[in-house]
Amino acid sequence: MAIDMSQFFQIFFEESEEHLATMESLLLELDVAQPDPEQLNAIFRAAHSIKGSAGTFGFADLAETTHVLENVLDRIRKGQLALRADMVDVFLKAGDVLRGMLAAHQGHGSSDPVAVAALCTTLQQLESGPPATVAPAADTPAAASPSEDSVATMGRYLLRFVPTAHAVTSNAIPQLLDEWREQGTVEVLRQPLATDDDLTWEVRVSTSQARSALSEVLEFVAESGRWQLLDEGAVEQAAGFGLFDAGEQITAVESVVPDAAGGIEEGDGFGFFSPLPELTPPTLLPSSPASPPAAAAGRTPTPPVPRRSKQGGSADSSIRVSVEKVDQLINLVGELVITQAMLLQSSLQFAETLPETLHTGLIQLERNTRDLQESVMSIRMLPISSVFSRFPRVVRDVSGKLGKQVELKTVGEATELDKGLIEQIADPLTHLIRNSLDHGIEMPEARLAAGKPAQGTIFLRAFHQGGNIVIEVEDDGAGLPRERILQKARERGLPVSDAMSDNEVYHLIFEPGFSTADVVSDVSGRGVGMDVVRRNIQGLGGRVDIESEPGVGTCMRVRLPLTLAILDGMSVAVGDQLYILPLACVLESLQATAQDIRTMGNQTHLVQVRGEYLPVVALHEMFNLQSAWQDFSQGIMVVLDADGVRVALFVDALVGQHQVVIKSLEANYRKVNGVAGATIMGDGRVALILDVTAIASMARKEIKKSRMGGG
């Protein structure tokens, strides 16, 4: 009879995490002097949702702690308590404690009961009054605050459900009713007694919550498939139609649920639905999800009258899928792309004799595969806001600790990138931001003395550029101290010279163990960190660049590939080998004439492209292959843009364009200079993907060599 609640625990944990995250970001946005009532309500709702579901699932400690938090929040949002900055700190702390408790329930780490108790005491002190009742809003039926500002989005629903045994024993239903009561009105039409055979509840709820939010809750508390959620959006009008008998009124309601809202209107009483133990949907409302399969899919059905609140809009248009499933899908699509390319290529051999239908079919297949691949890849794409959202807290905490005034401004949170990258970019970015806070932004006095506003600013930007995603951490601080870095580098015995370019000097901070901080603080200064940052980012196939100007600020620019798996490539032939160039790096290709080719130091070749001389890298020389051509005017020059450096790559011929699945060469072999990875071509053979950055740096070295040789 009882369903196993533990199967929902994971969902509960994930949702609670989300609620906590929402709460935290809202708290950080909150203007303490003039809090926005909407935001206060949203914070309250987040805390409340955690409490509600924690109670339902029997996590008593979580429910109790959130309850205390909720009481304070409730008094604040009702204007009974003025918001203070220290309260926000306590609330943030509370979020951390709750997170710890959640983690403990999930089996990693343990929560600290002392910290929890201390928190509860602090919160109760904040409340500075008699502890409020379990459901404070119950005293004010039709809860004043949310209904006032959201009358337009109120929905009315008739709920009928058979609660699970667990929900009954854990007293979840009255809690649930309280919860709804605080966000609207609740009318209990039928409350089964424990002795009843028919345990169906009937409740009418007017709430600002989305239908999906209600149905989610119902899924938790009700027996699987044994619940109904009827939209009564137009009930005001319907009440007068006389279609419905004045049904059974439940007299026991007041005594069992003492704080139930009054106001059960006689004529409204929907007795129409009363004795339906099988939960067969009334024929007048055919679209209600009553049968178990429909109820199982209950998160997504379109409500007959779609009434959604502002907050709940996205909840019912998404589903949770495990990452493994998505990755499996991506792998399969990758294989499909290879097979499709193989089919297309082998069909080319029969170009003359190929039946027209087969040919069209193959073309169609190619298009569909490509679309499929794009859609599948987009599943893994997430907005970077999920990473950015954690930094306001970091900035707040660290700047508070350092006694600095810092504001964080984020731009481009909607920029999407691969989930795998998102997970791995968070740590390096945190390091960069802490570094900016600690070393970049000066103390307020120093800033004022330098003629800058006392409050420093850190910009966090994300945007797409070519095939890359660029994330910038920019501060308006003191800039990197060139002399000091050089001095420290000398102390550490690094090979440095005063002639080094600024950029080379700045990159010294990525050396392991390098730190210019005199005092090791818990923020930074141990010299671990920046080298880890660089290593992590390089591990993701990205790079870090530094721009800095003394007294003006520093900008750390992280460049990452958009996705780790797929590349738009151009295939080029050298000798009997085929190589792939990332299409994003290819600017143009041309056939040079003999007079366009010049030499420098009698070694390095340059090619003139529209008045500009570009160094030539001959792929066959680099890879010790036999080129099909004798001189540069016979093959093709492919002009490549490698991070702003342009070089011309000499190849035998251009072959075609492909979308290729990047396969690691290092998984079973090792890093090869000049090669970024490998891929499998249509005929099943392996082609190497060239590392344009490495090629460009080889070209630079060549030029340096010839300069030295020539000069």
């Binding site: 294989e335 680099m622 292959l625 072999y669 053979r685």
Partner: protein, 170 residues
């Protein structure tokens, strides 16, 4: 038949292991069969530039990129041909998949530790570090090789760290 059974049960008692034997030139080698993933024919691999000649390149093994090492080139055998009968042993060593080209695969044998005798110090193509010992089966001498150690070694240049060692030495 009976004798074989007897031998096998005896072997199991003596915690023997199974070995795959293959020939390289005139010599016969034995490697732990648990390191062998599969045996397949030779496909023309994709060349990797600036590698030692015995690294033939990489192939596509059902979607994964696998480097191919020609042990015959590594041993400086005079006759190295690639025919439809050339055999590649796909090995699972050090958490990696590596293909090794050999002349032919001959047998799967059970050997007990007693049957493997310590090899004398000699200067062969392989350093004796990679030789577990010698075993004699039906008048054939088997060189029992620690294939994992060999493939991990810096002289094979298959792994990054090994390469660094080599470059450091050069």
């Amino acid at each position: 038949m009976n004798r074989v059974q007897q031998r096998e049960s005896e072997a199991v008692r003596n915690d023997s292991r199974e070995y795959l034997t293959f020939t390289l030139g005139e010599e016969e080698y034995a490697i732990d069969i648990l390191k062998v993933q599969e045996i397949r024919g030779y496909d023309q691999p994709t060349l990797i530039a600036n590698t030692p000649p015995f690294i033939k390149g990489v192939i596509n093994l059902r979607g994964i990129i696998v480097p191919i090492v020609d042990l015959r080139l590594k041993l400086n055998l005079p006759r190295v041909e690639y025919t439809p009968f050339t055999v590649v042993i796909i090995l699972n060593v050090a958490g990696r998949v590596v293909g090794a080209v050999v002349d032919s695969v001959s047998d799967v044998l059970r050997l007990t530790p007693d049957e493997i005798r310590t090899a004398p110090e000699f200067s062969g193509a392989f350093d004796t570090r990679y030789i577990v010992g010698l075993a004699t089966v039906d008048d054939r001498m088997l060189i029992v090789t620690d294939i994992e150690r060999l493939m991990r070694s810096s002289e094979m240049a298959l792994l990054d760290e090994a390469v660094e060692q080599e470059e450091g030495g050069a």
